[in-house]
Each structure stands twice: as C-alpha cells, then as structure tokens.
Symmetry: C2
Subunit: 324 residues, 2 copies
C-alpha cells in the first residue's frame, strides 16, 4: 500500500513508499481504511528525529473500519492514540496514556495513519456521529488535546487566560477556552493567523502588543517553539499557571530560576477525551473548517510535509483516496 | 564596618571589606546587629553572577535590634527576606514576596547579613522565642522555605515523596515532610550526607539505588544542580508533581518533552512562613545542630565561602562577633 515513512536518510526525514506491507489486525484490533488524515506539528518533529520514531507517522485521522470488531465494521471512526494490550484495558484514557507498555499511534512503536490502512485497538475507536463530516472528524484528536487543557487546569470565572501561539493547536485550544467564563487572549507572532482568530470571534493580539506587567493568570503554551516556555514565563503573573502543550525534538536552553522565584506552576498536558471532542464538533461549537489550508493526496505527502512547515499554512490534510 | 561583598572582579566573586559604610535605617526599618548568619547555596550562586547582585549578600541571620521600632529594640529577631515600602505593607508574605517593587535581603537591591550590621523593615522581623538558640534561629529562613513546600504541594496520606538532594536545604525539607503521613525518601549522591539523614531518622538512599519504575508521586528538587529537574523527571510518576526549590546562575539545557508526555506538574516554591519555622524550632521538631559544619568569623568569610562549596560541608555559619 501507499504510505509515508519517517526515514532519517531521506531529505526532510520523510519519504513515500508505494509498496509498504499493509497491516494485519491482531485480536482486539480493527483494520481501518483511512479517509482523511491531518499533519500535526508533532509529525514535523518526528521527521526531525523526535522520539527516534521509524515507520508510518500520523495520529490524526478519520477512517472506515474494514475488519475486526463486528460492532464497528463499516463504521466511521477516529481513535485515541495511546494503545495498550486488550487484557490491560482499564477503559480509562487517563491510565492508558501513561501505561509504560503502551504504543502510540504513529509516534512510538506503532504505525500511524499516513497510509491507506492502519490497525488500531477497537477499544480506542469512538464512532463518528453522522452529522460530523470527515473534514471535521479529522480534528477530533487535536481537539481532544485542547479539551484536556481544562481538565489539567480548570479556569475560574473571570481569570485572565492567554493562549500563546496562533497555530493549528493554539486556535483549537482558544476556541475551547473561549467557551469558559474567562477573559481570553490569543497571543501570536503571525498577523495573518491573528486576523483569522479575530474572524473566529477570538480576542487576539501580537506578542509585542501584550500590555506590560505580566497580565495573565494562566498561559497555555501552544507555540511549538523551543522558547515557548520562556515567553510564557514573561506573560504569566507570579503564582500563575503555564500549561505546556507542545512537544519538540531536542533540548532547549532554559533558565528555570523564574519558575522558582515567581512560584509558577508548569503543567504538562497531552491527549484528551475523544468523545468530548466529537460532541463539540457535532454541536458546531468549535469551527475547524477555517483551519484547513489544503488537502493533498497521500501520494504527494512529502510535499504536504513541506507545506505544513510553512507558517502561511495551518492544517494540511492528507487524502489517501485521491489517486492522481 | 566589616562586610563581605559580592564583587565579580575578585577571585571567587567575593571579597572582604573592612571599612564598608554602616547602614542607616529609614523610617519603618530597624538597625540590626548580626549575631550569626548562614551561607546558603543562593549566596554561592550570587558570587557566580546569579541575579547580577552587587553588595553585601546574606539572607539567613539572627541579630539584635539596636535602633528603629521601639517594640523591637533589644530583641533578637530573624527576618522575612522580601522587603517592600511601609505604605505597601499588606502584611501578607504571599504578596510581599511577589511585589514587583520589592527588594530582597542580600539578593536584589538591598544589602544583606554578611556584615556587622544590616537594616530591614521592622514588619519583616519576627522576634525569636527565648528557647530558640542563635544556632537554631539562623535556620529560620531556610526552614520557612522548607515549610512552604507543603503549602505549594500539600501531601496526601500515603503518598510517596522524595526529596532530591541531601544538602543543606534538602535535609530541612525532608525533616518537614517526614512529619506528614507520607512515605518519604531522601535521594542523594553523597554517602556521608545520606548517612547523616539516616542518623536523623530519615529514610534515605543513593540516586543509583532508587527502584526502577519512577516510584514517587511527588519529588522535591533541592539538589541545586542544573540537571536537578531532569533527574526529578526520571523519578516522578506520570501525572506526578515536581516541586522546584533550587535557583542557580545561568541556563540549563533541558528537554521539556517529558513534562508534556507524562503530564507532570512542576511547581516553583520559594520563601515561606517565618513564624511557622520558629515554632518548629521552638518545639524541637526539626534538628538543625547536626547540619552545622563550621562557624567562621566574618573576617574569614572568603574562606567560609570556599568551604561552603565543598560537598564535605553542610551549613557554614558566619559570626561577626568573633574578632580574631
């Protein structure tokens, strides 16, 4: 089958394989035909060496179950990305995502969705409601990660919150937070994206326009930049909270003294509840269409990866069903 | 008067001045004759350039009030180190330590206690109970910082907590935490200090002897080493908490991905309640005498700084009343 592969010997760390062996589901797994997949900043980091991953990346997708669990066959599904053996299924995503024996779809020890087919544990797959389109459903995974911010850092009414980063993830997080009774500001560096935030009804400004005096109680770091935490620490008030969402390859040079002196809480936050994300999409409470910059056929995936690194683009989707 | 000065042009960043001008209290301040002062790792970092401080370091002391507020005159006092103008006194240490206009005794914008005299706002000075000796009282400031750990990260009964670092601050933090119904382990690198911890009744082991599997719910990072957070992240369970107590000069190279992937909470924690510390000392609930490695006359302060950097020593005290 057609598949994209993380391969450090290729230019850009990614290459197309035309004859990659299709996967075979093990007991408890389903075989999914991918309908649409999304490129995330983590995928770009994988191509740069993050996690030392080899194989098929891709963890944001919507697809149709072809074989495996009967009750899912023929259904459109998305998937929670942390996979554990069926006998370990406690059913709790909170435990699943921290199981030391887990594999992670397209990130660690398991091929992902930038291919014509993938396998995934049936227990990981919520069914997509019929009112949610493929182009919406492909956002379920990052939107779930956005929802998780509120579980890791509940906002109090009236709190001043900032989302640092007006990219793919930042705009999803901002839309989730904007539904809370807080004062929300998206802080970005890219004027086009700030403009888009405003069109989505979000309060947004450039980093250089943030008033002095470290005005935010909570800063959610979604910039994906190695200096993101440093910037966040310049925006958050003493004894405030910084929520870290981004992961990236390699180490950043970081002066941690401000964390101690200002008694900041830094909260790591990762995957979230897929069902809650699908509900938000079904209810039209989060707009994802404006985030789609382009859809590439999977066969042009290498080009799509290059586009996804261009700040002029937001979400790039891969469609394995288009054959050029 | 005799004073030690942070001076980047001197070898080791510190020098003795024999004719430093004695301070004059401003309204709201008291003039204190220093009886005993303690060298903290922060002082060593100041000598290496931390905070860009110039002047007299020293923020752990006990002294006698010579002039200023009548009700304190002749009394033995210690001091909360964050100083704000009298009209800004809200009385709340929580606010005082994060006032952007504050000075910090011997750390930022204000001379400290490694001198024969210092001035400090009267509002910062709790009186030392008569049952607390000078050699105990000089530990009030770092012990208050140890008490603050529990305010920033309350421990639940049965939780497994580690104090990373068996140095001056680590042993104080460990003694405070050991009074909670948690399972406490001091994790160190220095076998002599681990032995001391055990003599103090603390459960302690070498870093290399910590069982695999990241066994701790909470890790309090007191090592003072730039790689302390990295080590702490190797010890704490997913969704656990790391409390950062150490500050040091300069930036460390740090891979923050584990914070996100494992959804760790990193909590900066700094100065604490002086009154609570004095109570613990008065009640004999924390042992500080075994931490005193040596008392140097202030006139030999440069030598004392060198000794404080030797891992064979724990707390080094400076006594300005000894004239050799």
């Amino acid at each position: 089958m057609l598949a994209l592969l993380v391969d450090p010997s290729s230019p850009g760390g990614i290459r197309l394989a035309v004859d990659y062996p299709p996967p075979t589901p093990t007991p408890g797994e389903v075989l999914v035909r991918v309908r649409l997949a999304g490129i995330c900043s983590t995928d770009l980091e994988l191509a740069r060496g993050y996690m030392g991953f080899r194989g098929v990346p891709g963890h944001e997708f919507v697809g149709e179950v072809e074989s495996g669990a009967n009750e899912l066959r023929g259904k459109r599904v998305v998937a929670e990305i942390n996979c554990i053996a069926p006998q370990r299924h406690a059913g709790l995503a909170e435990l699943r995502k921290h199981d030391p024996a887990r594999t992670v779809l397209g990130i660690a020890g398991r091929d992902g969705a930038f291919a014509e087919h993938l396998t995934v544990p049936a227990a990981n797959c919520p069914v997509v409601p019929p009112t949610v389109s493929d182009r919406q459903a492909v956002f379920a995974e990052p939107l779930a990660a956005a929802v998780q911010v509120l579980r890791d850092c509940p906002l109090q009414p009236g709190q001043r919150a900032a989302v640092l980063g007006s990219g793919r993830l930042g705009i999803l997080v901002a839309q989730v937070l904007a539904r809370q009774p807080c004062e929300l500001t998206v802080v970005g560096r890219n004027s086009l994206r700030i403009e888009l935030c405003r069109r989505l009804g979000l309060n947004a400004c450039e980093l250089s326009d943030v008033p002095a005096g470290r005005p935010f109680d909570v800063v959610v770091e979604c910039s994906g930049a190695p200096d993101g935490l440093r910037e966040a620490l310049r925006l958050v008030r003493p004894r405030g909270t910084v929520v870290l969402k981004s992961t990236y390859a390699g180490a950043a040079s970081m002066d941690l003294a401000p964390v101690v002196i200002d008694e900041i809480r830094v909260v790591g936050s990762r995957c979230g509840p897929m069902a809650a994300a699908l509900e938000l999409l079904a209810g039209g409470q989060v707009q994802v269409e404006p985030l789609i910059s382009a859809v590439f056929p999977l066969s042009r995936g290498v080009e799509a990866f290059a586009a996804a690194q261009d700040p002029a683009y937001l979400k790039i989707l891969l469609d394995p069903t288009i054959h050029e």
